[in-house]
Amino acid sequence: MASLVLIVDDEPNIVIPLQFLMEKNGYDVVIAQSGEEALEAIAKYIPDLILLDIMLPGIDGYEVCEIVRLRPEWQHIKIIFLTAKGRDVDLAKGMVLGADEYVIKPFSNEELLAKVKKYLPLLNENPK
């Protein structure tokens, strides 16, 4: 069974290429467009990895990360912040809250994929 990646971003224009990229690399993808949707999706699907934007309508990415890290049953979920907030303090805050990686927009697909692969080695090397 393929690993499940949850993409959380309110911008469809970034979600579409990301979804395409993940699927091409053999991951299953679930999408959420707000913090609330993300928490529902996490509870429902228990993804292996979350690509998490910080500035979201309602509950923001920091809060989602904090909630995930507080639940023992969700400890295994990897979190990669994917955000336009590029200041050093934003990065430091993200890492303190328990993120595994912090990627600043714009990023290269290769770089992002490398980080994802670090945590989710592909079971099935044949892309869809």
């Binding site: 579409i16 395409f20 500035m55 336009a84 590029g86 990023f107």
Partner: protein
């Protein structure tokens, strides 16, 4: 006691004494007589009682008339003469005695007047000489004071206890806020002087948080001990109007390097902070938007490049994303970032200038420095532009110099044109225009013309003015080449925002008084303090009539302060009051305040709290204070404001000093002391004149041994006038 009463007491006692002596002698004589002699005398007395009684009455009446005559002709004029001669010698050399009384006294009065004439001439001559000498020194002081007053920063200098020794107008504007701070009791339960006014001798803590200043002073003390080089301390003060003040605190050291006081330098940073906040928000917001868009574009492009065989629908989706995000990028750049750069440009210090003024300056400079003639139509309409005159004239000269080199010409025609929101400054010549390539080269040039230079490039200055340049050939119009500066047209600012021209004041401005360093401590027993050390509020009220108990109301309050024996006319309280009742015609004739002038003015319950703040901690002084105090007291129930300040009355003090004078009216005293009243029967005009009178009274009282507040009050109570009731 009035002089008349004193005299008649004396006359009565003398008469009684004589009657007792005569009666005693008559009794002795009666006892010497034999009984039949008693009968004879009694018979004569009974028979001629009418004659004897009439005789006695005539003698007594004659005696009374004689005494009255002596009093009016000799005693009263002599007493007046003494008092008036003293006025001449002490406060008003121009005062003259009205000769009255006996021939001798009239002659004496005339001699005194002649002497006064000579004394006055001499006095004026000496005064003139002193004034001339003084003026020179005073001019220098005034320049310094005017400079301080015109500084864009607020300056306040305080002594160690926080009493204000100097302040400028900017400080007043920054510190006197619209709402008064509440009066808060201190630890002892006593009221603390927390008025919302700034003034000499008032405490800085009235208008600024004491904790912040104390903290800054502690920091400075620590730095002084550590011999730190940087000894200032900063804090930000937020006033009730939500204005942010940056306060720089600096110590004022005495000869022994101990702190004798402190400076506060105040800058309003409200706008600056708002600007920074807004600019920062705009910048961060734009960056995040740019990052998001470029992330979407980059990710999509990379996906297309990596998987060229993707389905058509997927390719279309990604291409669509690239398209919309590119548009969004452009939009962010156009709308947000250009607004940001406009923000910065708006804050470059540019001055409003008329184009004709600019042509005049630049043509003279071009002629002198570059030997270039700039010809401009003298009759053209001047347009308003905002420029850094120096920097802009330098780039203009730079252009002239380059044009001279390229065209080999030394004469250019100038013109001003208005094109929509822009003003165009043109230089024209017959021949070819300047190429764009050449213009680009100029733009990178550092600004150097002859011996003048600036550490900026041509482009820096053009950008900072939000300006544009280019060169073209007027093919369809003039057949000449143009070099054109495009500048945004400026509007004339409202007069309020223009800077005031500094006019040196005639007298010493009232906002500084260095003598205050010698002020006594903060809480001495006020009654025992000498009059010349106290702070007074001199006030006057105008009213709808003269009957406080009969419903007459205050319509105007005017007040000034006397501090360190100086009348501070600029620290004034001048307020019209809506009496909420009609104005009687007779009262309008007195004060000249028309009913329409009071429309929209605050009512007494709004004015009195502010007036109480103004007076706090001072002695109240008024002419016929009983009346004004009664007017204020009638409002105690309605407003809950009690005026508990000690009170002195110039009318009573004048009566203490000059008991022989019949008149102690305001006008009579002013005339006696040679005081000209500006604005008689306006509350503020009368208050100022009362203040001047009071200042003249203080030294005269001192000559009579009346030095302290208590002595002045006790002497006032003994005068005849103090019994007047309202």
């Amino acid at each position: 006691m009035r002089i008349q009463n004193k005299f008649w007491w004396f006359a009565g006692v003398t008469l009684l004494f004589f009657v007792i002596i005569i009666f005693s002698m008559a009794l002795l004589f009666w006892q010497q007589l034999l009984p039949h002699q008693h009968d004879v005398l009694l018979n004569i007395f009974k028979k001629h009682f009418a004659y004897i009684f009439l005789g006695l009455f005539i003698i007594l009446a004659g005696f009374g008339i004689l005494l009255d005559w002596v009093f009016r002709i000799y005693i009263l004029p002599l007493n007046k003469l003494v008092e008036e001669a003293h006025v001449i010698a002490s406060v008003n050399p121009s005062h003259r005695i009205k000769p009255e009384g006996s021939k001798d006294i009239i002659r004496l009065s005339k001699i005194v007047n002649e002497g006064a004439e000579r004394y006055e001439q001499l006095y004026q001559q000496v005064r003139q000489e002193i004034l001339q000498e003084y003026e020179h020194a005073e001019d220098e002081k005034n320049i310094l004071a005017a400079l301080i007053d015109e500084l864009p920063e607020g300056i306040v200098i305080c002594n160690e206890q926080g009493k204000i020794l100097l302040y400028n107008q900017q400080a007043r504007l920054l510190l006197e806020h619209s709402e008064c701070v509440d009066i808060a009791p201190n630890d002892n339960g006593a009221e603390v002087d927390r008025s919302c006014f700034i003034g000499l001798g008032r405490s800085i803590y009235n208008v600024m948080d004491a904790h912040k200043i104390t903290h800054a002073l502690d920091e400075i003390s620590r730095k002084l001990v550590q011999a730190d080089e940087e000894i200032t301390a900063f804090f930000v003060n937020v006033d009730p109007d939500n204005r942010l003040l940056r306060v720089e605190t600096m110590p004022l050291l005495n000869q022994k390097a101990e702190m004798a006081g402190f400076f506060l330098i105040l800058t309003d940073i409200t706008q600056q902070v708002e600007f920074t906040k807004e600019a920062q928000f705009l910048m961060e917001n734009s960056i995040q938007k740019l990052r998001a868009s470029s992330a979407a574009i980059r990710s999509s492009i990379e996906a297309i490049l990596k998987y060229p065989q993707m389905k058509k629908a997927q390719l279309k989706d990604l291409a669509q994303i690239i398209h919309t995000e590119t548009i969004s990028l452009g939009d962010t750049l156009e709308r947000k970032l250009s607004r940001f750069s406009g923000f910065v440009k708006e804050h470059w210090p540019l001055a409003l200038t008329g184009t004709t003024d600019f042509w005049r300056i630049i043509s003279r400079k071009a002629k002198d420095k570059l030997k270039i003639d700039l010809v401009w139509p003298a009759n053209e309409t001047s347009q308003q532009i905002r420029i850094d005159t120096y920097a802009f004239s330098l780039i203009f000269l730079f252009v002239c110099l380059q044009l001279k080199k390229i065209t080999n010409r030394t004469r250019f025609e100038c013109a001003t044109n208005r094109e929509g929101r822009f003003v165009c400054l043109d230089l024209t010549w017959p021949g070819d225009p300047i190429s764009i390539e050449e213009l680009h080269r100029w733009e990178r040039h550092q600004l150097i013309v002859d011996d003048e230079r600036m550490p900026f490039t041509f482009k820096d200055i053009i950008d900072s003015h939000n300006a544009e340049i280019w060169s073209y050939f007027g093919k369809q119009t003039t057949q000449r080449s143009y070099f054109r500066f495009y500048l945004p047209a400026a509007k004339r600012p409202l007069p309020d925002s223009l800077r005031r021209v500094t006019v040196l004041p005639e007298g010493r401005p009232e906002f500084y008084d260095f003598d205050l360093f010698n002020q006594p401590g903060q809480t001495p027993e006020i009654d025992q303090r000498p009059l010349n050390e106290l702070t007074f509020t001199i006030f006057d009220t105008e009213t709808t009539g003269l009957n406080p108990r009969g419903g007459d109301e205050i319509i105007s309050i005017g007040a000034v302060r006397i501090f360190n024996q100086r009348l501070l006319q600029e620290e004034r309280f001048d307020q019209l009051v809506d009496p909420q009742r009609p104005l009687p015609k007779e009262s309008i004739q007195v004060h000249g305040i028309q009913p329409e002038m009071l429309i929209g003015k605050p009512t007494i319950d709004m004015v009195l709290p502010r007036f109480q703040q103004f007076c706090r901690g001072t002695i109240l002084v008024a002419h016929n204070a009983a009346f004004d105090m009664r007017m204020l007291q009638m409002k105690e129930g309605q407003t809950g404001i009690n005026f508990i300040n000690p009170v002195l009355d110039t009318m009573l003090l004048s009566a203490v000093l000059h008991p022989a004078q019949e008149k102690h009216s305001f006008d009579a005293i002013a005339e006696r002391f040679g005081i000209r009243i500006v604005g008689r029967h306006t509350a503020i005009g009368d208050a100022i004149a009362t203040g001047e009178i009071f200042l003249k009274l203080i030294p005269l009282l001192a000559e009579k041994g009346i030095l302290t507040l208590r002595q002045a009050r006790e002497a006032s109570q003994k005068t005849y006038y103090s019994r007047l009731k309202y």
